[in-house]
């Protein structure tokens, strides 16, 4: 059982240009928690700060103020503490065409985290573990020899998911994992994520701007608007009974079968 908490986290970006060193508050005083076995959706329009939260969570950016706690302990942003944290908390990036290095094979992408986190030592162990990871994301183990450009978007994103699973994390962040994929294969990738979440009892932060999938795949929804979390609660409640005007707008725009029935 693991929990990850944000406590009043603020992130300001210093903007270049201009004498006064203007800043942009990408994340304003955000608090929430993710725990094992649950999926939390973070919904918001473009530029609302969703990816910034993912970067803060992954220690790719440091918060301007506020605290990030893992199992109640502040996350260390260097050294062995950070390495341990990265074993427990992993991420799937938005664009599978950008998150895999064009120079390296699929095998390389999966072998590195395995070795870094001591999940495989010898070459044979690594090969076996890589093949196993590929099977788990429903890819042919033969794919290990391929380069990213030889694969489809969906296959690449599965590789990215396999890479995130390699250290056997407790918490998984998925930043718009299907927005770059063809509509026809989105559901397959989301179902795969949901299955893995259940099998591993992962805590998942599912970032999206699609309310329908957020509701279907997650237990809780956080609605983000201009850097703030304006609404949070159990999925059905947030969608069926939105309080904040922005959520109401979102809910109305999203296809909603129950509402249509009521009409």
């Amino acid at each position: 059982m693991s929990t990850l908490e944000f406590h009043n986290v603020v992130k300001e970006y210093r903007l270049r240009g201009g004498w006064h060193g203007r800043t942009l508050k990408a994340v304003k005083d955000v608090s929430f928690a993710i725990e094992s076995g649950k999926t939390v959706a973070l919904v918001g329009q473009s530029g609302s700060g969703k990816s910034t939260i993912a970067k803060l969570l992954m220690q790719l950016e440091r918060p301007t103020s506020g605290q990030i706690l893992f199992d109640g302990v502040p996350v260390q942003n260097r050294g062995a503490g950070l390495r341990q944290y990265r074993r427990d908390v992993q991420m799937v990036f938005q664009d599978p065409f950008a998150s895999l290095n064009p120079f390296h094979t699929v095998g390389h992408h999966l072998a590195r985290p395995l070795k870094l986190h001591g999940k495989a030592k010898t070459a044979e162990e690594t090969d076996v573990a890589v093949a196993e990871l590929l099977t788990r994301v429903r890819l042919d183990p033969e794919m290990a020899a391929k380069h990213p450009h030889e694969m489809s978007g969906g296959q690449r994103q599965r590789v990215a998911i396999a890479r995130a699973l390699a250290p056997q994390p407790r918490i998984l962040v998925a930043d718009e994992p299907v927005s770059m994929l063809d509509v026809s294969i989105r559901l397959g990738v989301l179902n795969l994520l949901a299955d893995l979440q259940r099998a591993e009892n992962l805590g998942v932060l599912y970032i999206t701007h699609d309310l329908a999938t957020a509701r279907h795949f997650s237990d809780e929804i956080l609605v983000m608007y201009q850097g703030e979390i304006v609404e949070a609660g159990p999925s059905d409640e947030v969608i069926l009974n939105p309080q904040h005007p922005y959520t109401q707008l979102l809910a109305e725009a999203a296809p909603n079968p129950e509402k249509r029935l009521a009409l």
């Binding site: 992993q90 990036f93 290095n101 890479r163």
Partner: protein, 320 residues
């Protein structure tokens, strides 16, 4: 990237289909460059083994080519072909040495600074910019005229010192863009160490640029050394194309009409430079597909007027 590097000669049909762009005939330039440069390099490597002593003096002075001397002799009866072989070896050695040193320096100052950022980047950028605004050849002349005993290594070092900065700037710019790629962030998330991300994730993607800069540094070095040697500031006791030209000039080869003495080294400089430029163009096209498209467009423009001239009279006849 490999794909583009490998994609070799292709059919003419491929050029027409926009989808199969990668399989266009593009390697002609590269092949020509590689073959010419390779032949010259081979001459430099093997020539000195089979040809005699370039310094050996004979009574057969200023002989025109022929009579057993393929390229004739100098004023003091030295074999020009033997000299040319040794000079080729010398010039290429300088080129390779300078290329290697310059590439290491520009990679260090360009890539490391940009990746680490902060003060390191500021300092490295400052050093790079200072080196960039110092005019190269004059500095080389000043340095090499102050040092009395100039070895090959010193000349190479001086040339490398003045030639790495431009490359470092380019590498810095590209690294700045690469370090923000998602796959670098993904490696950090995987727990990869900084230096390993730099060496394993970023550096391979800089390979074509490094190759192109290496080629450029070699051209610069060979030309620079030739210039220095020609004005008598070259490496002492080493044959290079430049020193051959220097001796030819001193021996009044031009006035005496001894073309076989100065034409071969001059020609080799020009041809080798051209071959390396050809290689560089094709590397540039690999890095920057836009350039490739421009070449293609230019080729098309080149072709269309001719086809028009052929078809227009015909259509006029049928329409009128």
């Amino acid at each position: 990237m490999e794909q583009t590097l490998e994609a070799p000669r292709a059919s003419a049909a491929a050029a027409v289909q926009p989808k199969k762009r990668q399989r266009r005939p593009r390697s002609a330039k590269l092949m020509a460059g590689l073959i010419i440069a390779g032949a010259i390099a081979l001459f430099g490597i093997l020539g000195p083994l089979f040809l005699g002593d370039p310094n050996a003096i004979s009574n057969d002075t200023l002989a025109a080519p022929g009579n057993g001397m393929l390229l004739g002799t100098t004023q003091t009866g030295q074999d020009v072909l033997a000299q040319l072989a040794h000079a080729t070896r010398g010039s290429l050695t300088i080129g390779v040495l300078v290329g290697a040193m310059a590439i290491v320096a520009s990679a260090f100052f360009g890539i490391v600074g940009a990746y680490i950022g902060g003060w390191t980047d500021e300092t490295f950028s400052l050093i790079t910019n200072v080196m960039l605004v110092i005019p190269g050849l004059p500095l080389v002349i000043v340095i090499s005229s102050y040092v009395p005993d100039k070895g090959l290594l010193l000349i190479a070092g001086v040339l490398a010192l003045t030639s790495w900065a431009g490359g470092a700037r380019v590498l810095r710019a590209v690294t700045l863009s690469l370090r923000n790629r998602d796959y670098v962030a993904a490696s950090r998330v995987s727990g990869e160490k900084t230096w390993r991300i730099l060496m394993v994730e970023i550096l391979p993607n800089l390979m074509p640029i490094l190759a192109s800069q290496m080629v450029f540094a070699v051209i610069f070095a060979i030309l620079g050394e030739a210039g220095l040697a020609f004005i008598g500031l070259g490496a002492s006791g080493t044959w290079t194309w430049g020193s051959m030209l220097f001796y030819a000039q001193n021996g009044l080869a031009l006035r005496l009409g001894a073309w076989w003495w100065f034409v071969p080294p001059g020609l080799l400089i020009a041809v080798f430079g051209a071959a390396l430029s050809l290689i560089n163009f094709s590397i540039d096209e690999i890095i920057n597909p836009k350039l490739r498209d421009q070449t293609l467009a230019a080729r098309k423009r080149w072709n269309t007027p001719r086809t028009k001239k052929l078809t227009v009279p015909g259509t006029e006849k049928t329409s009128s």
